[in-house]
Symmetry: C2
Subunit: 329 residues, 2 copies
């Protein structure tokens, strides 16, 4: 370990990271070689790991607090898709030697804000120096009732397909940040914000745990992840393109150029949840959406057979196929 | 995610990493967003995370299998120090785009060999492309009987201090690799090997769980980690320098230059286990050492009071002090 900035590695842990572990006794105040997780009888642990890297998942110039929050949120999104209640996370942080204590302070402040918001705490971590870009690797733990983690498999013909939030915003936001796409400054701000800071749907995890037959975190794009879910469940499915929820800025971009459909449905980085549930669960799901304030939209249906799933326009023309987990446009 | 090499990310997961998950049903064959860990009543989960980075913890030119094994072993070392039985691990791998499928194959083969050797399996992971050096972040899970994880705290006056294996080899090995130190080619091969591939003391985890009052993985150097243990336990301690176990090559280096003491005791990367146990546990510990073939040496004693702990020569002259977790030479 190389000492970094004025505080050094130990100083940074003590000042910035130890306070993040206060909410989790098993973290042992980050003073030991391992954290301790107790799981009550009747419960199991859902474990997910996702890393973000400067230049790939965020821009090196992004605010450190936003980078931290994105790293945590992409993991919270996975937990929510599995119907798991957030419990704790471990953090590995690689920083170039020139990164200042102030940057680290901002990073930790971002984590603190999201910990409060989503009810999760730091359990342990490691920090390393690097000559390369900043990267952040998080492993997150959530609790599920034993045997009740919602998998990608489990969807059955007749199930309705639902998705949270709106789709395609992050991909458009990144295109605008990289000036590959134009738009009003208000639209750009909204869409870029959706790329920089996804909204994990933690509030819907309980409803998903109760009602979903199968679920997936939409990170590779709606079409690809819809394909992943159908493949894992050995079913086909049809999503109706007109029902896919779009934000007003995304709708405006689509009105300008119909080819934007491809970006919306395959762009990725949505961190929304796609799930399949019995048709009879509809009223309960709508109620959960009302109670949590999280938008929830029924967009399609699961059909028998395996192979090619499709996102169709009203005229029956396929917009995108999602075949065996691979996206074809 | 960027496609890498000829197989691409999905192809690499399927070909090289999915077989590593066969031994752990909760990995769901790496096809879902999260892994599932069930913990039996009366047990708890010890969780540790450690990353290794090219140019810091290994050399970019090292064999990919050795890099993989070192990354896994530094985590297994932490679990063993806590008295935990290895269960599963998650892996985050960042690779430069030019890394070949063959390199990844060698990396996975290294993991496979150590999984068999130490009884652990892959539970999940993430891979990212990077413009920087290779890094590997592992979070490892082990099982402990509830309330029985061995912490850094818990040592009491009168406890004997024990250490596994030999101390200082890795630091000398790195010095020889970097040509800061000379030695016979046989000694260099041995010591460099100890740097490249630490030996996690998994076989002693059960004895540590049963007998240790406090334990720590020696990664920052014997002096510093001895200080960490004493500080966490609010005790002092004395290690007798002459009792610290040295390999024959390390002993030869010390005969050539007595200043080598500093490197041996503060160099780090030992991944041995330092622990404190009741004097009466001695015979049982010696028996465990015999049964497992893992060298175990009594090197000192825990004393009352808090503050400065010391590594002393036979003449009572301090070789190194380990004060409040910080090393002073």
């Amino acid at each position: 370990m190389t000492s970094q900035g004025s505080l050094g590695e130990f100083g940074r842990i003590e000042r910035f990271f130890r306070p993040l572990a206060r909410g989790f006794a098993g973290a042992l105040s980050l003073t030991d070689d391992a954290a301790l997780i107790a799981v009550s009888p009747g419960q199991e642990l859902a474990v997910t790991t996702d890393a973000v890297v400067a230049g790939v998942h965020f821009l090196a110039s992004d605010a450190p607090g936003d980078i931290a929050r994105k790293a945590l949120r992409v993991n919270l999104s996975d937990l929510s898709a599995k119907g798991a209640r957030p419990l704790a996370y471990t953090l590995t942080l690689a920083l170039p030697r020139e990164v200042s204590d102030r940057w680290v302070e901002g990073f930790a402040a971002g984590l603190a804000a999201d910990q409060d918001c989503f009810g999760i705490a730091l359990a342990g971590g490691d920090s390393v120096s690097t000559d390369g870009p900043v990267w952040v690797s998080i492993t997150a733990f959530g609790l599920v009732d034993a045997g009740r983690m919602i998998k990608r498999s489990g969807a059955i013909p007749g199930d309705r397909i639902w998705v949270t939030g709106t789709i395609g915003d992050a991909a458009l936001g990144l295109a605008m940040i990289e000036t590959r796409l134009s738009g009003s400054s208000a639209d750009k701000e909204f869409l870029a914000g959706r790329y920089r800071l996804p909204e994990p749907r933690v509030g819907l995890a309980a409803a998903i745990a109760r009602h979903a037959h199968a679920a997936i975190d939409v990170s590779d794009g709606l079409a690809a992840d819809f394909g992943h879910l159908c493949m894992a469940s050995a079913v086909q499915g049809i999503i109706e393109a007109e029902k896919v929820p779009l934000s007003p800025p995304a709708r405006r971009a689509l009105q300008t150029d119909e080819k934007i459909w491809g970006t919306l449905l395959s762009g990725g980085d949505d961190y929304e949840i796609l799930f399949a549930a019995d048709a009879e669960a509809g009223p309960f799901l709508r109620q959960s959406a009302l109670e949590t304030g999280i938008k929830l939209t029924e967009i399609g249906i699961v059909t028998p057979g395996a192979g090619e799933s499709a996102i169709l326009r009203a005229d029956g023309k396929p917009v995108l196929l999602a075949r065996a987990g691979w996206t074809h446009s």
